[in-house]
C-alpha cells in the first residue's frame, strides 16, 4: 500500500514542487504598474510569479481600487511598486501608508528611478542616500555595445542569491547606505561606476566640481548599492531596486558582453524569494524551561537551581510550503536577564533532534524577576526574538543545607538531653523506696 501511494504521489509532488513555491506569509500580491510601463514587457517576471502560486492583481498608481488597505487592514500580503516615474498616486498610497503596511505583515518591492518622487523620500527613511535627481548610474567599463547607462553588474556572494549567478544587466540609480545594520546589501555597484547626468566627455569637469563642492560629493564606487533590502523589526522585508529595467524582459533576454545569458531572471527570482518571505524565513515555534529533573515548567525557580531551557525553531521550506524544524543555527545565544544579562550562554542544537536547541545552566544567586531572552539577528535572516519572564526566589527556610559537620556538638547535646530525660523519668519511677519505710517505722514506735 505504501509503495503504491508513494509511486502515485511522487510525480504529483514533483509537479507541485515546481508550481507551489509559495510564500510563508500569503500569496496575494498587488502590483502597481506605471501607465508608461507595459505589462507585456515584464511577462517573464510576472508569469514566473504566477507560476509559483502568487495571485497578482494589477493596478495603476492613480486608481483608487483595489486599495492597499481597507480600514487599516492590509488587503494584500505583498505589494510591488513598479512606479518609477509616477509623481502622484491615489489617496491610499503615501509614504506613511506604505510604512504602515510594513508594520502589518506586508512586504514591499520598490523600483526607483532618477526622477524625484515620493519613493525618493521613502527610501531616505530606510537609510538609503540617493544621488541628486536626474543622475543615473553610468559606467564606461566594461567595453560594450550598450549605452553607458546599461551596465552589467557582477552579483556578489550572499545567502540571498544562488551562488554562481551570472552578472545582471542594470539601469537606474545607485544609492549609498549608512551604517544601519537592518540593511541587507544585495547588489553592489561596480567600482568603476558613478552617478552623473552628462552625455559626452565635456561633463568631466562637472564631476570634479561635484566632489570639490563638498556636501555628499560624488556617488561613485563599489560602496554604493543598486539593490538593497531592509528587514524591519516586525520581520517584514522591503527591497529597493535602483531601476525597474532589471526585471524587464529586454534585460532578461539580453546577452552579456562575453556572450553568455544574463542572470536577471535568476536574480529577480532570488530577490522575490527573499522579499516575499520564502527564503531565509525562520521562526521560534515555542520555548520551554524547567528544572533539571522535572518536565513541567516551574512557576518559580530558586537561586542556584539548575535550569534547562529549550527552544524549538523552524525554517520555512518553500518547496513543501511548510515550516520544518531547522537545526542549522550554530550561534544562538540565551540571556538570563534582570535589567542586565546575568548569564549569557550559547544555545546549541541537540544532535539527533531536529529543530531543538537546549542548554542547562545554574540560576544566579540573586533573587528577582528574570527573563529568558533569545535575541538572534543576522543580516538577511528573520530576527528571532523571544522573552519569557520567570521569578527567582531565595531558598525557603527548609531548603538550606542541613546536617552540617559544624553542628555535631549541638546534635550531640540535644540528643543527650532527650536521652537524659527519658532515663531520669524511668529511673525515678523505677526507683527503690526502702529507706523511707525505715524512717517511718522508727517514728511510729516512739
Amino acid at each position: 500500500m505504501r509503495l503504491f501511494s508513494s509511486t502515485l504521489l511522487f510525480p504529483l509532488v514533483a509537479l507541485a514542487r515546481l508550481v507551489a513555491a509559495k510564500s510563508s506569509s500569503g500569496d496575494s500580491v498587488l502590483v502597481l504598474l506605471d501607465p508608461s510601463l507595459e505589462k507585456e514587457n515584464f511577462s517573464i517576471f510576472f508569469n514566473g510569479l504566477e507560476q509559483r502560486g502568487y495571485a497578482l492583481t494589477f493596478r495603476a498608481p492613480k486608481d483608487a481600487e483595489p486599495a492597499i488597505a481597507e480600514y487599516d487592514v492590509p488587503s494584500f500580503s505583498h505589494v510591488i511598486l513598479f512606479t518609477p516615474e509616477s509623481k502622484s498616486y491615489a489617496q491610499d498610497v503615501t509614504p506613511q501608508s506604505l510604512v504602515g503596511l510594513l508594520s502589518q505583515n506586508t512586504n514591499l518591492l520598490i523600483a526607483m528611478s532618477p526622477k524625484q518622487t515620493l519613493l525618493t523620500s521613502l527610501a531616505a527613511e530606510f537609510s538609503l542616500i540617493l544621488p541628486p535627481p536626474g543622475t543615473p548610474l553610468i559606467s564606461h567599463h566594461p567595453a560594450r555595445a550598450e549605452p553607458p547607462t546599461v551596465i552589467p553588474v557582477a552579483v556578489p556572494q550572499s545567502p540571498l542569491v544562488r551562488p554562481g549567478t551570472p552578472p545582471v544587466w542594470f539601469s537606474g540609480v545607485p544609492h549609498a547606505l549608512n551604517t544601519n545594520p537592518n540593511l541587507v546589501p544585495i547588489l553592489r555597484a561596480p567600482s568603476e561606476s558613478f552617478a552623473a547626468d552628462s552625455n559626452d566627455d565635456s561633463g568631466a569637469s562637472m564631476l570634479v566640481d561635484a566632489t570639490e563642492k563638498g556636501g555628499e560629493g560624488l556617488w561613485a564606487g563599489s560602496q554604493m548599492d543598486l539593490v538593497t533590502g531592509f528587514q524591519t523589526s516586525h520581520n517584514t522585508r522591503v527591497v529597493f531596486a535602483g531601476g525597474v529595467e532589471l526585471f524587464s524582459d529586454e534585460f532578461t533576454k539580453k546577452e552579456l558582453p562575453n556572450g553568455k545569458p544574463s542572470g536577471n531572471a535568476q536574480f529577480a527570482r532570488d530577490v522575490v524569494n527573499w522579499v516575499f518571505q520564502e527564503s531565509l524565513a525562520l521562526r521560534i515555534d515555542h520555548t520551554t524551561h524547567h528544572r533539571v529533573n522535572e518536565t513541567v515548567p516551574g512557576e518559580f525557580y530558586t537561586t542556584n537551581d539548575q535550569i534547562v531551557y529549550t527552544a524549538h525553531i523552524s525554517a520555512y521550506n518553500p518547496r513543501t510550503s511548510s515550516w520544518e524544524p531547522f537545526s542549522g543555527l550554530t550561534d544562538l545565544q540565551l540571556e538570563f536577564t534582570m535589567l542586565d544579562p546575568h548569564v549569557r550562554i550559547a544555545l546549541p542544537p541537540v544532535a539527533g533532534s531536529p529543530g531543538i536547541y537546549e542548554v542547562q545552566f545554574r540560576a544566579p544567586d540573586r533573587h528577582g524577576v528574570f527573563k529568558f531572552v533569545v535575541d538572534w539577528r543576522r543580516r538577511g535572516y528573520t530576527y528571532l526574538q523571544s522573552s519569557t519572564t520567570v521569578p527567582v526566589v531565595p531558598p525557603r527556610h527548609n531548603e538550606y543545607p542541613r546536617f552540617l559537620s559544624a553542628a555535631w556538638p549541638y546534635y550531640a547535646g540535644a540528643m543527650s538531653t532527650s536521652a537524659g530525660f527519658i532515663l531520669f523519668a524511668a529511673l525515678w519511677l523505677a526507683g527503690d523506696v526502702k529507706g523511707e519505710r525505715k524512717v517511718k517505722k522508727g517514728t511510729k514506735t516512739e
Binding site: 551604517t179 566627455d201 560629493g217 545554574r362 519511677l429 527503690d432 523506696v433 519505710r437
Partner: protein, 274 residues
Amino acid sequence: MFVIFSWLLLAASVQAAKLTLQSPRFTISSSNATTLRTETFTTTQKPEPLTLSSSDTFKLTFQITEEGEGGKGVQPHQTFLRFYDGVSGEEGIQPIRVTPGGKAKFELNMARPPASIPPTTTDPLKVTLILGSFVHEPVKYELFDLYIPASQPPPQHADEVFFHTRPVIEHTFHPEQKLPPTMISAVFACLVLSPWVVLLGLWAKVSPSVPHLFSPSVVPFTTLLGAFELLLFWYWVELNLGQVLLYGSLLAVPTVFAGKQALAKTGEWRQGRS
C-alpha cells in the same frame, strides 16, 4: 533592427581610439618642502610601495593621450583614482581634474586629507586609475600600493553589536560556605558527651537499685516517652510542623493514661503498698 544597431555601435567602439597614459610621475614631499621621493613610473611595472606619513604631501601628474604616434591629449569623461583596501573592503573614489589638453594633476596633503580617502588600517591601499569616455575605449591602470597612517575605524551603528555573537557572561557566584575542620567538630562533640562517661562511671560504682524498672505499670509510660523522643528525632530529620503536631497529639492521649497509671503505682510503692 536592434541587432544591427548594436553591431554598428560595436563597430564604432572598435574604431574608437585607445587611451594611454603618458609620463606618470609622483612626488612625495615632506612638510618643510624637501622632496622625499620622486619617480616617473610606467603602467607596465608597479613601483615600490609608497609610504606617506601624516605630514607629507603627495603629487601625481600624468597626461592622457590617444594611442599611436602623435596622439593628441584627451580629456576623458571619467578620470578617477580609486583607493581600495583589499582586506577590509573599504574604497574611496577621487575624481582628478584634467585639462582639455589631457594634462592631469592630483595633490594629496595628508595634513588635510580629502573625504575620498577611505578609513585605513596598517594594510596598504591599492591605487588604480580608471579612465572612461563616451568616445574612447575604457581602460584601468593599477598604479601602485600606498601606505598611509591608520585612521579611526569607520563608525558603527549602535545596533551592530546585536548582529554578531556577543561575549559569554558567566555569573560569579558567592563562594561555598566554608565549614570548620571536622576534627574540631568531632572533638567538641566528644566533649559534649563526656558527662555521660562520668555519670555511667559513677553509677557503676554506686549501683543504685531499680527494682521496678520493667514493671508492667511503668513500662508503657517509659516506652511512650521514648516514642515522643523518636517523634522529635523524626521531626528533625523529615517532618513538617503540622505533621509532628498531629502525631504528637495522637501519642499524647495514651501517654496521659499510662502516666496516670504509673504515678498511681509509684504512689502505692512509696506508701509501702498501702
